[in-house]
């Protein structure tokens, strides 16, 4: 089981048994169901899964950005350098947002305010947290724009989001996030809305900034290629729960959970990670269940090739096979037990 104690307190971010539920007319949706994760200083954690598995909600929960109604955090703790973010008073939380933990969102077009210049939107972070004067903040913002490699920074500062290309907008969002030199960045599908070629550039940028600034990144994506590029460790989510967690190489080379294996099998082999994919594309049969209508026992059991009887009756616990290697599956825990 988990080694709690001092280890969790020294971590940069420690999510413990997080429960974030949504109350909708159709029923109760447990978007995040007993999720435990951690990120250490200087490491990148990948959170991977299909749409609707709860990965974005997990990130939004960290900064308490869940809209209520209909959702709220109903249980668990989120420790950030010792502070429990779920219980922090709002004005304290505000000082952490955009300052020590920053978020990069998926759709830069809608996530940037269309009626203000991007210079204005980046500078205001400096004004708010570092109390710079507007003039100084503008200068710092310009420096940041240069750092994220947007060409002609002076010109771009005075432009509006609709005048920039998709890649530049995402760079602007990253600039906004990095402004106050945060310890942790939550990147929610940062490249999904972009063209493939731009995706590579953005990932390279993020990796580079991670190296130079030492920022930890929680990278959320459904794209395994992104994980392979950026993450040091990976957690796989399915229907609100963590099903597997490992360092990136072991996860790709010796994946254990049937869902993870299925995911990897459905990715065509590309480039230097050709060893990751198998020869044939195999899809995972069935559909992702609606979160208010989950099967009994293991959430994945209707689609699982290794299904046993117990899988339909009891939910498998998250078991740590050896340090850093967790799995939530009856079939696997049996084998290793």
């Amino acid at each position: 089981m988990e080694k709690q104690t001092d280890a969790s307190n020294n971590r940069l971010l420690s999510i413990q048994n997080l429960e974030t539920h949504f109350f909708i007319p159709e029923g109760l949706v447990k978007a995040v169901d007993d999720v435990t994760l951690h990120i250490d200083e200087g490491e990148n954690l990948g959170l991977v899964g299909e749409s609707g598995c709860g990965k974005s909600v997990t990130a939004l929960s960290i900064l308490r950005l869940i809209p209520f109604p209909p959702g709220r955090i109903v249980g668990g703790k989120i420790l950030f350098s010792g502070l429990d973010l779920t219980r922090l008073p709002s004005n304290e939380l505000r000082k952490i947002r955009g300052n020590r933990i920053a978020m990069v969102f998926q759709e830069p077009m809608t996530s940037l305010n269309p009626v203000y210049t991007i210079g204005n939107q980046i500078a205001e972070v400096y004004i708010e947290h570092n109390h710079f004067s507007p003039k100084d903040a503008w200068e710092k913002a310009k420096e940041m724009i240069e750092k994220v490699q947007i060409p002609s920074p002076s010109k771009r500062m005075g432009e509006y989001p609709h005048q920039l290309s998709g890649g530049m907008r995402q760079r602007a969002m990253i600039a906004m996030a990095l402004a106050c030199n945060p310890q942790l960045i939550l990147a929610d599908e940062p490249t999904t809305a972009l063209d493939v070629t731009i995706q590579a550039q953005i990932l390279e940028l993020m990796e580079g900034l991670h190296e130079t600034l030492g920022t930890s990144i929680l990278i959320i994506t459904h794209d395994l290629g992104v994980i392979a590029e950026v993450a040091d460790r990976v957690a796989v989510m399915y229907a609100g729960k963590i099903v597997e967690e490992a360092e990136v190489e072991p996860l790709f080379n010796e994946s254990l959970h049937p869902y993870t294996i299925g995911l990897l099998n459905s990715v065509p082999a590309l480039g230097r990670k050709a060893s990751v994919g198998k020869k044939r594309l195999v899809e995972i049969p069935g559909l992702v269940p609606s979160l208010y209508d989950l099967p009994s026992g293991c959430n994945f059991n209707p689609r699982c090739s290794k299904k046993r009887n117990i899988c339909c009756e009891e939910e498998p616990p998250l078991v740590e096979l050896h340090p850093g290697r967790k799995i939530s599956c009856w079939a696997v825990s049996e084998k290793w037990a």
Partner: protein, 313 residues
């Protein structure tokens, strides 16, 4: 922005022309004869014909049309068929009263309605929100004369504070203001009902937008998120709609002038309808039409000013 403005202004011109044509045609369809209404139904054929000739009504219709348009562009609105006075004179006597009524009603509606709508959005589903929404619904269901009458009963009859009728002395600002308050509010309340609804729904939509979430995620103070990031975006649709509702208010001002017995174009029109005075009817309608077009133009321009996508395209 410049091309946008020029385009908007240029479009206004043929629109105005088309409205003038429409008014001209509509008025010409009147079956009964202004000559008869002046002379009485016992006049002889010859006197009627002579008067018609004098009024210029026996010329071919396209001649009358071109003369109408030509004169309009030169500021000549013709003469009243009934009392021979130049219409420009008739109108300029009453125009200030109508203008001040319409403009103050539009301003009252916008200046009170926008903050109210925004506040209701921020206090969504609270008691105040429900009351505000009911108030809005009532406000836009009620005809202008009902609000006028209620206000009269409250403020002129129960409390003898404000005058019931008249427009006040043209030269005395205080007297004009005194006579303006009740009518302006009776119209303004209706405008406010419309604007509050739009402001509320626009603000609600903006509050759910991604960029508002980003602003919160950046750790900005809640007041700043709302006042800076949400508000400006919420105002854009509201401004573009002020023009539409202003047209409604301008139309309803006729009613308010009747209720409060105010001098104004509205009362002029009613008289012209009863007397079949084509010319006055036609010219008054065109003044209203021009006013509507002007307000819409101003609205379009402010919209372009607020929305950077128009400015920088």
């Amino acid at each position: 922005m410049f091309t946008y403005a020029i385009r908007r202004i240029l479009i206004a011109i043929p629109t105005l022309l088309a409205m003038l044509t429409l008014v001209f045609l509509l008025v010409r369809v009147i079956p009964s004869d202004p000559a008869i209404s002046v002379l009485g139904s016992y006049a002889t054929e010859e006197t009627i014909k002579a008067l018609r000739h004098e009024m210029g009504l026996d010329r071919p219709i396209y001649v009358q049309y071109f003369e109408f348009i030509w004169n309009f562009t030169h500021g000549d609105l013709g003469r009243s068929l009934v009392n021979k006075l130049p219409i420009v004179q008739l109108l300029s006597g009453v125009l200030p009263y109508t203008l001040e009524l319409a403009i103050s009603a539009i301003l009252i509606g916008s200046i009170l309605g926008i903050p109210l709508g925004v506040l209701l959005a921020l206090k969504r589903n609270s008691f105040w929100d429900y009351s505000g929404r009911i108030f809005s619904l009532v406000g836009l269901s009620v005809p202008a004369f009902v609000t006028g009458i209620v206000l009269i009963i409250l403020f002129s009859i129960k409390i003898n504070l404000l005058p019931v009728s008249g427009g006040g002395d043209l030269d005395d600002f205080g007297s004009r203001l005194h006579h303006l308050i009740l009518p302006a509010f009776s119209l303004g309340i209706i405008m406010m009902a419309y604007i509050t609804r739009i402001a509320r729904s626009s603000m609600l939509e903006v509050l759910g937008a991604d960029y508002v979430r980003t602003a919160t995620a950046k750790g900005l103070k809640n007041r700043k998120v709302i006042a800076k990031h949400a508000l400006k975006n919420a105002l854009i649709p509201v401004v573009s709609v002020i023009g539409t509702y202003s047209a409604l208010i301008i139309g309803s001002s006729v009613i308010t002038e009747i209720v409060f017995n105010r001098p104004g174009i509205g009362n002029l029109i009613v008289g012209a309808v009863q007397q079949r005075d084509y010319n006055v009817l036609q010219s008054s309608m065109t003044i209203y039409a021009s006013f509507v077009i002007l307000v819409n133009l101003l609205t379009d321009l402010s919209y372009g000013f607020l929305n950077p996508r128009i400015q920088y395209d």
